[in-house]
Symmetry: C2
Subunit: 398 residues, 2 copies
């Protein structure tokens, strides 16, 4: 029997994958499981998008252009102008989810052995795409005590080696919910410029910024126009994860043309998803206001309730819909398994994402979990109660 690749062996499994059977067993036992571990919002997809799908009237479901449907790309450029990002439609490549934009950017800009610096904790799947491209992820640690602010520039600069080719940020951040300020990003810009690095930015949570804070896009950092590659997605903005539509955006023509070669190999992004995404651009303003108010209410409830639990701490996230929570436990991986397999409260339990999966430095995040506030407040209330009761009786309580 032939052997799988070393690359396949090294490919990280989803950190929560091993918890899935425990969640399934809990459901099988008749327990309600609150999935606090995933970024699948329960917010309805805009009606304009669903209507466009229901009125799809082509006779043949054809490939689109490898860079996406032109009318969508043109209209999408208008969306970016509306949020203060001035780019031409020819600088936008439609991808199969934001995921594919990350993969194409890695492949186009990095060779095996090249290094990318990423503040940790970070979105665990960056590890996967880096492994596919053979790229080494070099973490620079941010801390819960600072609310996961960008680490000092000296710390980032110390990580730079001759193999460093880029820095990646997610803003607002998954998994921390931290919103980088313009000042932090400008400091980062100076490093990027000084060392002539690529700056990758995942801004899929752009619309989710709270407390009057404004999102500042890396596309508006002056002096590094050719260094920046933006990854975006419709998944969160329009609660349309299953459409699998994202975008790779760059003013660097060489990077764009190279990424396009990868895009051509896979022929085209999904046609139905593009139809839905193009229609989503006409989503009425009220939709976003409602969604925004809903997330604010959920966050305020969740953060307040968690911090009232003895021994629990979470910062107030400025954006996205995640927060990292420190728990009074010996090992959050064990706790996340135990709460599914050995605990229930009023016939319910919760699935948490242990934070260790978001750190590249071994040993970090051992007493932290990520919670996604993608559930209705009533569900969040019940879920937090389950968590509170569980912590009272968990044998590994610190």
């Amino acid at each position: 029997m032939p052997k799988i690749s070393d690359k396949g062996n090294r490919m990280p499994a989803s950190p929560i994958r091993r918890l899935v059977p425990y969640a399934e067993e809990a459901i099988h036992r008749g327990h309600k499981v609150y999935f606090l571990n995933i970024g699948q919002p329960d917010i309805p997809t805009p009606e304009v998008a669903l209507q466009a799908i229901r009125h799809f009237d082509e006779k043949v479901v054809k490939y689109s252009h490898s860079a996406g449907i032109e009318s969508y790309r043109r209209k999408l450029a208008g969306y970016y102008r509306s949020v203060g990002i001035d780019i031409d439609w020819t600088q936008i490549m439609i991808t199969t989810g934001g995921s594919e934009a990350i993969l194409f950017a890695m492949m186009a800009c990095f060779d095996p052995g090249d290094e990318i610096i990423i503040p940790e904790p970070f979105y665990a799947n960056y590890n996967g795409f880096a492994a596919e491209a053979g790229v080494k992820v070099v973490p620079v640690t941010s801390y819960i005590e600072d609310g996961f602010a960008l680490p000092p520039m000296e710390e980032i600069e110390q990580k730079i080696t001759p193999r460093t080719k880029g820095i990646m940020v997610c803003n607002p951040n998954n998994p921390t919910g931290y919103l980088y300020s313009r000042e932090e990003l400008e400091a980062l810009r100076d490093i990027v410029k000084k060392h002539d690095l690529f700056l990758f930015a995942d801004e899929v949570y752009r619309e989710f910024c709270y407390d009057g804070k404004e999102h500042f896009s890396v596309m508006n950092l002056e002096g590094i126009e050719e260094n920046v590659v933006l990854m975006d997605s419709v998944s969160k903005r329009y609660s349309s994860c299953g459409s699998r539509i994202g975008a790779l955006i760059t003013r660097n023509r060489e990077v764009f043309d190279t990424a396009l070669k990868f895009a051509q190999a896979r022929l085209s992004p999904p046609t139905f998803g593009q139809v839905a995404a193009e229609a989503s651009l006409d989503t009425p303003k009220e939709y976003f206001e409602e969604v925004y108010n809903e997330y604010i209410a959920r966050r305020d409830y969740l953060v307040g309730a968690l911090n009232r639990i003895d021994g629990v701490f979470t910062p107030v996230p400025g954006g996205a819909f995640y927060t990292i929570v420190r728990l009074p436990v010996d090992d959050a991986d064990k706790f996340a398994q135990w709460i599914l397999s050995d605990f229930s409260y009023e016939d319910a339990t919760v699935m948490l994402a242990p934070a260790s999966g978001f750190y590249a430095t071994p040993g970090l995040g051992k007493d932290e979990v990520r919670i996604a506030y993608v559930l209705k407040i009533d569900d969040l209330k019940h879920a937090v109660k389950v968590l509170e009761e569980a912590l009272k009786v968990y044998p590994g309580r610190k």
Copy 2:
């Protein structure tokens, strides 16, 4: 300005990409361009698939399971049983087009520097996925005089080195239309078994076998059950290219689980496409009979008409909807450009795929093009007439 990756530099561009501007100019001049270069059929997508999309009634367009929607995987296993391939639904992973199945298979089974033997001419995008995975493609040449039959086993075996980890076939073949016989595949099986290689098979044209010939799937080769990885797609079977739904199928659990790690990194295949693909499984038999008869008629017309042109030769393809055509020209790349830029007949011209892009051995296929018979017969008639007239006056005629 930071530099793109060597990998990106080496990534092959689509071989017809450089012809696209010439086609656009021809259209701009008011000429009708017959696109004989692409595998985008004009056959309508089954009504059951379009109806399923029009009746999509979920409120939230959610991620599916990373391996695909369970009901679709279960039903798809039934389709495979109906064509004599006995597999369990848990051995089927839904991918974003057949393209992603190829990429996942390459990533899961091959490391950078590993070699894969592929009979040439072959589908040009295999080069792209191999480049992404850092895999070296080792061609073994098949010849137009033999109708592109599988080369003798000794020739294949001579290509095996210590780095050889697999062999890949496409059956029926794109770009040649050749249908491998059971005997040819069993001979291949013996090599695969002897050297313990992976056997990758792209069978996306399974339904398109002509002249009473039956398709024999590599999944039914005895004794190499753990070596075989099948790549499939709904694109051609249901004329549903834009749905971007394919499948990776293997009885090798280690390969499956490894591929699943790559699948998890990109979260899920497209939801709408899966809904359409699942519904497509209920396509009435008459649809396939009509499509089959249509392709047979197109093939018969095309092959007959081409071989009646002075100096032109094409074998009779036994499957798929492509044929490689030898033209009496100095250089098919130049000719393909010239016919777009300098020639028209009755205000029409044609876009051809120069075959050199399908060979890995430099210099081969210089006087060959691939023609896809994905257009209506009336269009094919006009297109062949354009080609015939062009060959009469082409300055580089041999």
